[in-house]
C-alpha cells in the first residue's frame, strides 16, 4: 500500500470558539490529486494552511510524508510546494531574481538555469528582468506557480490555482499540474468550481461549513487517459 503523501486525520480547527474545520479526513497518494471545492468561507484555505504546516490544528492531525506538517524537517520541507492567495513574491525584485532566490533556498542545483527554465515554462520569459511590482495579476499567478513548482516538489498544494488566469494561462497551469502528477507528485488543490480539476482526474471533495460532505478521499486515477469523472470511495 502506498503511503499517503498528504493526509488529514480527523482534522479540526477552531478560531477561538468558532469551528472552521471539523473532522476532515482525506489522503492523497503519489501521482494523485484531490480537489477541495466549496463556497467562500467553507474552510478551503484553512485546510491547505494546516496541511502546509503553516498553522497548528486544534484537533486531529495534518500530515505530510507521514510526519506532522507543522514540525516538518527541512529535508522534507524541500519537497513541498505551495501556491497561496498571497503570491510570496518580492515586488521589487525581478521575476528571475525571485525564482533564483527561492531556487537557492530550496537547494536546486543550478539556480540560475532553473529560474530561466521555469520562466519559459510559464510563458514569462520575456518579462524575466521586469520587476514583479509591474506585473498583472495573471502574470503574478503564473510566476507564483513557477515558484511553487521549481524545486520539483513531491507534494504540491494549490490554493485556487486558476484564479486570475485567462484561458491560455489556465491551460498552461493545468498542463504543468498534470505533468507534476505524472511525475508522481501528490496534489491537493482548492477551487470554487471543480471542472478544470476534474478534467485532470482529481477526486472532488466538497467542503461545507467545515466538513467534507461528499465522499471520503478517493485517490484513484486512471493512468493513460484522463477520465472526466472522479471516482469516490466511501
Amino acid at each position: 500500500m502506498t503511503a499517503a503523501l498528504i493526509e488529514a486525520r480527523a482534522l479540526g480547527k477552531s478560531f477561538g470558539p468558532t469551528p472552521v474545520l471539523r473532522d476532515v479526513n482525506l489522503s492523497v497518494e503519489a501521482g494523485h490529486g484531490a480537489a477541495v471545492v466549496g463556497a467562500n468561507g467553507a474552510g478551503k484555505s484553512t485546510l491547505i494552511r494546516l496541511l502546509a504546516g503553516l498553522a497548528a490544528p486544534s484537533l486531529g492531525a495534518a500530515m505530510l510524508f507521514g510526519e506532522p506538517a507543522l514540525s516538518l524537517k527541512p529535508a522534507l520541507r524541500r519537497r513541498v510546494g505551495l501556491l497561496s492567495h498571497q503570491s510570496f513574491l518580492y515586488p521589487n525584485l525581478t521575476a528571475r531574481e525571485n525564482l533564483e532566490f527561492y531556487a537557492t533556498l530550496y537547494g536546486v542545483e543550478g539556480a540560475r538555469a532553473a529560474a530561466i527554465e521555469w520562466l519559459e515554462r510559464v510563458a514569462l520569459g520575456a518579462a524575466a528582468d521586469a520587476r514583479v511590482r509591474g506585473f498583472s495579476r495573471g502574470m503574478e499567478q503564473r510566476l507564483a506557480l513557477a515558484r511553487a513548482m521549481l524545486a520539483r516538489p513531491e507534494v504540491l498544494m494549490l490554493d485556487e490555482p486558476f484564479a486570475a488566469l485567462d484561458a491560455d494561462g489556465a491551460a498552461l497551469a493545468a498542463a504543468l499540474v498534470g505533468e507534476a502528477m505524472d511525475r508522481g507528485c501528490a496534489v491537493l488543490a482548492s477551487a470554487h468550481s471543480p471542472s478544470a480539476l476534474a478534467e485532470l482526474g482529481f477526486a472532488i471533495l466538497t467542503l461545507s461549513r467545515g466538513k467534507l460532505v461528499r465522499g471520503e478521499p478517493s485517490t484513484t486515477r486512471e493512468s493513460a487517459a484522463r477520465p472526466p469523472l472522479a471516482r469516490q470511495v466511501s
Binding site: 503553516l54 527541512p74 529535508a75 497561496s84 525584485l93 537557492t104
Partner: protein
Amino acid sequence: MVSSFTAVLRKDLLLEVRGGQSTVALGALSLLVLVVLVFAFNPGGGEQGAEAAAGALWVALVFSGMLGATRAVSAESENGCIRALLMSPLDRAALYAAKLAAAFIFMAVAEAASIILMVLFFNLEFDARVMRLVPAVLLGALGFAALATLLAGISSRLRGGDLVLPLLAVPMFVPALIAGVKASASALGGAPSSEFAIWLKVLVAFDVMFVAAGYLLFEYVAREE
C-alpha cells in the same frame, strides 16, 4: 545553511539598494534626533560637551535602530513572503541571522553618518578619540540589532504592535546603553582606557547574550499561529 543565510541577506541588501530607502530613512532620523538634542541640551565644550555628544549619539542609535529592525523584518510582510520563507527548508536561525545582519548593516551605515554629524554639531574634532568610538558604536549596534530583530518578529505580527518594540527594546537595551554612552563619553573625553575597556566588556557580554538568545528563540517567534 550558510548559503541560505547569504541568499536571504543578499536579497535584503538588493532590495535595499533597489530603493528600500531604509538607510536613507535611518540616516535622516539620526540627523533629526541629533538636531533636536542639540537644541535640547545646548552643549558647551570640554567634558560636558563630550558627555552630551556621547548621549546624543546613542539616542540616535536607539531610535534609528528601532526603525531599522522593523524595516528589516517587515520586508517579508508584503505578499506574505514570510510564510514562504517559513515553509521553505530555510533554517529559522539562519533567517534570524540574516535579518540581524541586515538590520546591523543599516544601523552601521546610519551610525557612520551619526558620528560625523555628532562631531559637526557638538564642535568636536575628527581625531583619534572619535576613532575610539567606533568599536563601542559597532558593538552597541550589533546588540541592539540582535534584540530588536527578535522583538520586531513579535511586533510585526501584532495589530498595533509598533508600540511593543520600543516598549520592550528600550528597557532591555539599558545595560548596553549605559555601557555605550559611558564608553563613548570616556573615549571622547580622553578618559583612561581602563575605564573604556570595562564598558566595552559589558557591551561584548550583552552582545553575546542577546545574539545567542535571539538565535535560540527566534523560531518560537517565527511560527504561524
